[in-house]
Symmetry: C2
Subunit: 223 residues, 2 copies
């Protein structure tokens, strides 16, 4: 298979998924492709634009909102798809929002989302508003999920227990107050609740999402 921008980008994404974005270097990417480092610069002007290209590949994976269902269902599906993609591509969280020049897939998605809201009867102002809340929530949630080392409620419980233990250790070393004394509410939540019943990110995401969708529908129907 010959080298191409497409293949360079896809391989870069594979490496980012496997080893994390911070360890992705032009040399490693070139190695992976069986090629000298400088060869890459014939397909990509520099590393920044490589990242831009990778990000747009991620955007392309996100489902466009459906046009044959009510707007809440469409937005709900789009949000779930975004969270899903961002979970598969944690390396991209934090890059997607902050990059300066959006790629084609990104534009396509944004246009489709705005279109979905406008066609559902949102005014331009409300559309912008809805778009802003939804995306802030979705990306913010992904940001929080980015670093957690577990995938399900059971894992969350294990981590909560472990962290509680670690904190107790640290406190003892520095002869500080215990977690329970110093941060009672945190203790209640982490050591009490989460360590007991766990924490389900997926369910939590949907609850917050529905809260926002409900609020938006109220504002839409009221306008």
């Amino acid at each position: 298979m010959p080298l191409s921008k497409e293949r360079v980008l896809r391989t870069a994404v594979d490496l980012a998924v496997r080893d994390g974005i911070e360890s992705l270097s032009m040399r490693k990417l070139a190695d992976e492709l069986g090629v000298g480092a400088m060869t890459l610069y014939h397909y990509v002007p520099n590393k920044d634009e490589l990242l831009d290209g990778m990000v747009d590949l991620v955007f392309a994976e996100i489902e466009l909102p459906a046009t044959d269902v009510d707007w809440q269902t469409a937005m709900r599906r789009r949000a779930l798809s975004t969270r899903d993609v961002l979970n598969r591509h944690r390396w991209a969280v934090g890059l997607m929002e902050s990059r300066a020049t959006p790629g084609l897939a990104s534009l396509r998605l944004h246009d489709a989302v705005l279109g979905c809201l406008r066609e559902a009867g949102f005014s331009v102002e409300l559309t912008i508003q809805a778009y802003s809340v939804l995306d802030a929530y979705i990306y913010g949630f992904a940001l929080q999920e980015k670093t957690v080392p577990f995938d399900d409620a059971r894992g969350a419980a294990a981590v909560a227990e472990e962290q509680t233990r670690q904190f107790a250790e640290r406190a003892e070393e520095r002869q500080m107050a215990t977690l329970a004394e110093e941060f009672p509410y945190l203790f209640e939540v982490v050591a009490g609740h989460v360590a007991e019943v766990g924490y389900d990110f997926a369910a939590s995401f949907e609850h917050g999402l529905d809260l926002i969708l409900d609020g938006l529908e109220q504002r839409r129907s009221r306008s």
Copy 2:
């Protein structure tokens, strides 16, 4: 003034504010302090923990929720303060949530927020839920604001106009369809609305925030 961990961290934050986090290097930081690079390692174990320390300084700037007002007012103020701080420290957005080991200021803030909600009558589950939505929104919003090069509505309008122009240029070069044809809804919003009346991030943040606070209050009073 003698060197100290405190002073190292503060200077690092100053440099991050001035030149951006990605250009902050141990050598530059040492230069700024009039000291050799390796000297820093007597105050900080490595660069990662330097970043942790810087992040905790930012957390320390965020106002704790007040205890003498109703929970919505307290959370509202805390959210506004967070956005404010994150806007002064854009370099910190993306670092604050993703770092593994939270500092003291961070723990203190989290505890205070959880406490505010619990005392307001939220169940533990609802508290976690509320906390999750609010923070996802706040940090997600900050993430979106992170890169925008303007501060007020007028600036937003100027940027929207400029971007529209740039897109037209790009389209012409590659003989693509125009923005208006290819992405009509995006066009309506960017070239139509924003370029005309601008976009006020602060107002937008508050709208979304109130939407979420309303939703949370409904769930609280219903439980």
